[in-house]
């Protein structure tokens, strides 16, 4: 079991395991994070850890703050006018909300894929994947070639597009576009990949492909995913956090959360009895 569900030990149902606490196994630790949209307090004292090379899912009903939370993780929340964040997020021994930290630098380390596929409209498939490097000054063609192929392979798109790298990225199907966006995010070699409802605009087959991809990606990256589809969270993640009204209600291994949740609200939500 340990090779498949990558917790250290096969999870015992009776144990209420805490998320791994030692620094070596944690990629990102969120400490008492609060977020606002103008006067609207949307996240309240969230503390959560993202274990290294695992998929961690955030679930919860619409408006629970899960998208806001994931956008806080690479400082995309503050891009919106009037948005505010207070709290700490530790990555690699650095508080990304610390003084003097450049959000642009943070985002290079923590990539993000969005709800709707958003390839750059004027760019070819190749240029889309290379965009992160090119726009940050990389000119070396062999470096770019290598990064593009690696990104596309990791996003399981290489075989489908290797003969048409010069064609526009917007010419691909929705599912391919989303994998192109994943490739684009991976090409800059982030440490953490965040996905904000990456399948909500895709059909079931394209969704299944992305889900399979996540199982591959976690061998190299720490992955955080927000999904309104809790079955998807169950399928792809090793750890799951349940949010409700801006609070983290419960966090634990996906196995445990979906077989034996400890909070009655979690139980009500995952069994579809939310009222």
């Amino acid at each position: 079991m340990s090779s498949i569900v990558p917790s250290v030990k096969p999870p015992r149902l009776a144990v209420r395991e805490a998320p791994p606490a030692d620094a070596s196994s944690v990629a990102m630790a969120v400490d008492r994070l609060n977020a606002w949209f103008a006067e609207n307090h949307v996240l309240r004292d969230i503390s959560i850890t993202f274990p290294k090379q695992q998929v961690t899912a955030l679930i919860g009903p619409s408006g629970c703050g899960k998208s806001t939370l994931i956008r806080c993780l690479n400082r995309m929340h503050e891009v919106v006018a009037g948005a505010r964040v207070k709290g700490e997020i530790w990555v690699d021994g650095m508080n990304i909300y610390g003084e003097g930290v450049d959000p642009v630098q943070v985002r290079r380390k923590i990539g993000m894929v969005f709800q709707k596929p958003n390839p750059f409209p004027t760019m070819s498939i190749y240029d889309n994947v290379a965009a992160g490097l090119k726009l940050n000054g990389v000119r070396n063609v062999s470096v770019l070639d290598e990064a593009v192929e690696r990104g596309l392979r990791q996003a399981a798109l290489w075989e489908e597009v290797k003969d048409k790298l010069k064609e526009p990225g917007t010419g691909l199907s929705g599912g391919q576009q989303q994998r192109l966006c994943i490739a684009r995010a991976l090409a800059v070699k982030p440490e953490i990949l965040l996905l904000d409802e990456p399948c909500s605009a895709l059909d079931p087959i394209a969704t299944a492909k992305i889900e399979e991809l996540l199982h591959e990606l976690k061998t190299q990256y720490t992955v955080g995913i927000v999904t309104h589809n809790m079955q998807q969270a169950a399928r792809v993640s090793s750890f799951t956090g349940f949010l409700l009204l801006g609070e983290l209600i419960e966090f634990g291994t996906t196995d445990r959360l979906f077989t034996n949740p400890s909070d009655p609200r979690t139980e009500a939500y995952i069994t579809g009895r939310f009222g």
Partner: protein, 233 residues
């Protein structure tokens, strides 16, 4: 549609679920192996009046029980995380039952071992040779039912079900033989009862193997052959 054709669609994609299913199958098989081994050892101990071997069978049951709990948790986790449908659903539901059957097979081994301990302390009373045959047959049925499970072989599964009758028949013969001998040699009455029970336990093993085979048939064909339901098919 044949099973092979069902999986040959061009848009078939790799499923992580399949990997986890494969692991589950593997673990189910190894549990089957443990149960089979336990029956083998218990029978050997019985035939050789080997108390020490019987004792080890009883002690090793704890490992099988742990495997049972572990497998049940794996099944539950797979249910919770992958919401299996169709064949996957049948597989998962039957896996739960097969775990249960295997655990009971192991319990039968313990029962036989306990009878053996009793017999080893009593004066020698030679058992009917049919008991050894029963053990061989029951173990073969168990092995074949698990093979059918691994390979999704419905024909083998239905064949296993038919073999149950043979074991039942032997059980009746052993029963009659032992009753007759116990009537003649009253000193061996207690041993005869123990041996009767051993035969009965082996017959139960064959029943469990039959149940597994029936489950396998259901997984593969989606139809039940239990209780002669669907016998016409």
């Amino acid at each position: 549609m044949s099973d092979a054709a069902r999986y040959r669609y061009p848009f078939m994609i790799h499923r992580h679920f399949d990997e986890e299913l494969a692991v589950l199958k593997e673990k189910l098989l190894s549990m089957g192996g443990l149960a089979e081994q336990a029956i083998g050892k218990a029978t050997e101990a019985f035939l050789k009046r080997d108390g020490a071997l019987a004792q080890s069978v009883i002690e090793e049951d704890a490992a099988i029980n742990r495997t049972e709990v572990d497998l049940e948790e794996s099944c539950l986790s797979l249910f919770a995380r992958f919401q299996p449908e169709a064949k996957d659903l049948r597989f998962m539901a039957m896996a739960f039952k097969i775990i249960d059957e295997l655990e009971r097979v192991a319990d039968q081994a313990v029962n036989i071992a306990e009878r053996t301990l009793d017999l080893a302390r009593s004066p020698v009373f030679n058992p009917p040779s049919d008991i050894a045959t029963m053990s061989t047959l029951a173990m073969a049925m168990l092995k074949d039912s698990l093979d059918a499970f691994v390979n999704g072989n419905a024909d083998l599964a239905s064949e296993v079900c038919q073999r149950d009758e043979e074991v039942d028949q032997l059980n009746r013969v052993v029963h009659d033989t032992l009753l007759e001998r116990a009537g003649k040699e009253s000193a061996g009455a207690k041993q005869a009862v123990d041996q009767l029970l051993v035969a009965r336990h082996l017959e139960r093993v064959a029943d469990h193997a039959t149940n597994i085979a029936e489950d396998v048939y259901f997984i593969v064909r989606g139809r039940t052959i239990k209780h002669r339901l669907g016998a016409e098919a």
